[in-house]
Symmetry: C2
Subunit: 338 residues, 2 copies
C-alpha cells in the first residue's frame, strides 16, 4: 500500500455518478483541487437547484458546492463521454437502474466504484458487475474505500481514503485527485479485498446493531468486532489470497467506523431488528434498505462453495432471511466467540 | 489460544487483592461458582461494611456480594497464606504500597495479574515485577485480560476474559474459575503479549481522547485505532516474538473497548488534554492518574533500545511529558497515518 505524497489535484477529467450523500461528498472533495468535475444525477430538479443555489437540496444540504468547476447534469452519456475516470457512488440497489440510460461504451474508461455494497439480482460485487456486464477490463477497474462517513466529509473533518486498482497509475491518479486539506489518500492493488471488506463490514455493523438492540454492552461489542475482523480475514484470504494487512484502514478502519458510528444506517437497521422490529417493518420505518441486507445474501451464496467458518454472517442470515429469533441466534453465536 | 469448555467453577483457593471496581467485579465473578474467595483490601471500614451490608460501599455499589463464600479482610498475609491462586487487581500505582504489609512468601503461589498497567518507579510490567521482586517463577505467573469494563460486569452483561500463563494447567484452572453465566473465558500462553497489549491500549485510548478533545471525528478515530493496532503488533512482536493473532479479543478487543467506551478513564483524561487542560490540572480534576500516563513513559523507555516505529506512543509522550502542543503534535501524527 502506497501513500500519496506527490501533491494534490490533477488535470484528469473525473466524473461522479450519483446524487446521494456519498456522491455529494466526493464531488465536494474533487472540486477542492480539480478544475473539472462531471456529476450525474437522476433528479432534474436537484440539478437545477444545485446550479442555482450551489448546494444539493436533499443530501449534505449544508455543503457549499464550487459549481464553477462542476458540470452537473442528468445526461449520463454526456458525463461518461467527457470523463476519463468515472466514480460510481449510487447506492448499490440503484446502480442498474442508473445505468439504463447509458448508450455510450464504458470499456475504454477507468471505472472506480465507491459503492460499498453488492449489485442486487446480479449478486456480485461492483467491480465484477462492470467486468461482466460492461466489458470494463479488470485493469481499468478501481475501488475507493476507507472509513469515511459523508456527513464528516461535509464538515471537513480529516478523513482517509484508499484508492485501489491493479494498475498502479490509475490508483495513484485517483489518490492525487481526491487528496485535499481534509482528505488523505493511500493506494493499494487489492481491489477484491477492499471491496469484499466493505461488503462484509455492513453485515458486521448490522450484527453490532442487533446485539445493541438486544441489550449487549460495550464489552461484548468489542469481542464481536474482534471476531468479525478474523472472520473478514478468513473470507477475503480465501476469495483472493494475496498479501494484505487486515488491520489496515480500508479493512479494519472501515469496519470500525461502521460498527461504532452513530451515522451508520446498517447499525441502526440492526438495532431495530434487535429491539423487535420485523425486517419488513424496519425497512419501512427507515424508508430505505440497508446495504448489509443484500450483503448478507451475497456472502451466503459466495460462501457456499468455500470451506470457511463465518458464524457472524451466518447468524445475520438466519435472522434476516430465515425469520429466526434474534435473541436465540445471538446467544448461540456468543458461544462461538473467543 | 484455547477455549474453556470444561464446565464452570473450581475448588481452587483463589484470592483477589484490591478494593476497587475491577477487584470487586472479579470477586463477584468468582463467587458465582467458587466456594471460597479470599479478598484483601486496605480499607478496614469497607471490610466491615461488606460483611454487614454485602456490598462494597465505594465501588460497584449496586453489586450484591455473596459474602457467605467471601473471606474479606485487611490481613494480606492471611489471604495469601490461604490461597493457591492470587489475583492482583489494584491500580498499578498502588501495587507496591499494597504489598508492603506482606511478610509471607509469594514464590510458591500462582500469581495472576489483572492489572492493566505498569509498576511506577520500577517501570516494568506486572509479571516482571513479581519475578524480579518476589521471586515468583515465570511459569507461576499469569495474566487476566480482555475487553471487560467492571461496570458492565456489575450489570452481568456478557463479557469475555483471556487467562494467560505459560503453564497450561494454571491458565485452564483460572479460566474455569472465572467462567460463569455472564463471563466466557479463553486461555493463552502469551503472558508478555497480552500484558503489553493492555499497557499499550491505555496509551492509544488516551490518544483517542486527545483527538476527540481536539475535534477530530469518527472517520479519523477509526484510522487512529487501525494504525494503533499495527503499532501494537510491531511492538509486541519485537518484544516477544511468538505466533499470535493481534485481532484477538485480548489484543484488538481490549483496545476497542478502551478506545471507544464511555467508561474509559484514559479516554476521558485524553479528552481533557485535547480540550486544553494541562496534564496536572486534568489529573487534579479526575482525582486520579490514568494508567496510560505511566504506560506512556514505560513504553518510551522500553522502546529506546528497539528499532520500531511508534508514532502514536511518541506523540502522546511529547504531549504528556514534554509539554508539546497537542494540536500541533496530532496534526503531525495524522500525516504519518495510512
Amino acid at each position: 500500500m502506497g501513500k500519496n505524497k506527490e501533491g494534490k489535484g490533477t488535470h484528469l477529467n473525473i466524473a461522479v455518478v450519483g446524487g446521494g450523500s456519498w456522491a455529494t461528498a466526493l464531488v465536494k472533495i474533487l472540486s477542492e483541487t480539480n478544475d473539472y468535475v462531471g456529476w450525474w444525477m437522476r433528479d432534474e430538479e436537484a440539478v437545477m437547484h444545485i446550479k442555482r443555489y450551489h448546494h444539493n437540496p436533499k443530501y449534505l444540504t449544508g455543503v457549499e458546492l464550487q459549481t464553477e468547476r462542476i458540470d452537473v447534469t442528468t445526461d449520463l452519456d454526456h458525463i461518461v463521454s467527457e470523463a476519463d475516470y468515472i466514480i460510481f457512488a449510487v447506492p448499490s440497489a440503484f446502480l442498474k437502474p442508473a445505468l439504463e440510460a447509458l448508450t455510450v461504451p464504458l470499456e475504454d474508461k477507468v471505472v472506480f466504484s465507491a459503492i460499498k455494497g453488492i449489485v442486487p439480482d446480479e449478486n456480485v460485487i461492483v467491480g465484477e458487475f462492470f467486468f461482466n456486464k460492461y466489458r470494463v477490463p479488470i485493469e481499468n477497474i478501481g475501488v475507493i474505500m476507507g472509513p469515511c462517513h459523508a456527513e464528516e466529509v461535509a464538515l471537513e473533518r480529516l478523513s482517509y481514503l484508499t484508492c485501489a486498482s491493479q494498475t498502479e497509475e490509475y490508483a495513484s491518479n485517483m489518490a492525487k485527485a481526491l487528496a485535499c486539506d481534509f482528505i488523505k489518500t493511500s493506494t493499494s492493488d487489492d481491489i477484491y479485498g477492499t471491496e469484499y471488506a466493505a461488503v462484509l463490514k455492513n453485515i458486521y455493523s448490522l450484527a453490532a446493531g442487533i446485539c445493541h438492540g438486544l441489550g449487549y454492552g460495550d464489552n461484548f461489542q468489542a469481542v464481536l468486532v474482534s471476531n468479525a475482523t478474523r472472520e473478514m480475514k478468513r473470507f477475503i484470504k480465501n476469495v483472493h489470497p494475496i498479501k494484505r494487512d487486515i488491520t489496515g484502514s480500508a479493512y479494519l478502519g472501515d469496519l470500525l467506523v461502521t460498527a461504532y458510528s452513530q451515522f451508520s444506517r446498517n447499525r441502526l437497521f440492526g438495532t431495530m431488528i434487535g429491539k423487535g422490529y420485523t425486517v419488513r417493518s424496519a425497512m419501512l420505518e427507515m424508508n430505505m434498505v440497508a446495504e448489509g441486507y443484500y450483503a448478507t445474501k451475497l456472502i451466503k451464496s459466495v460462501k457456499k462453495d468455500l470451506d470457511i467458518k463465518m458464524p457472524i454472517s451466518n447468524a445475520v442470515y438466519k435472522i434476516l432471511y430465515e425469520g429466526k429469533n434474534p435473541k436465540k441466534v445471538m446467544a448461540a453465536l456468543a458461544e462461538k466467540f473467543s
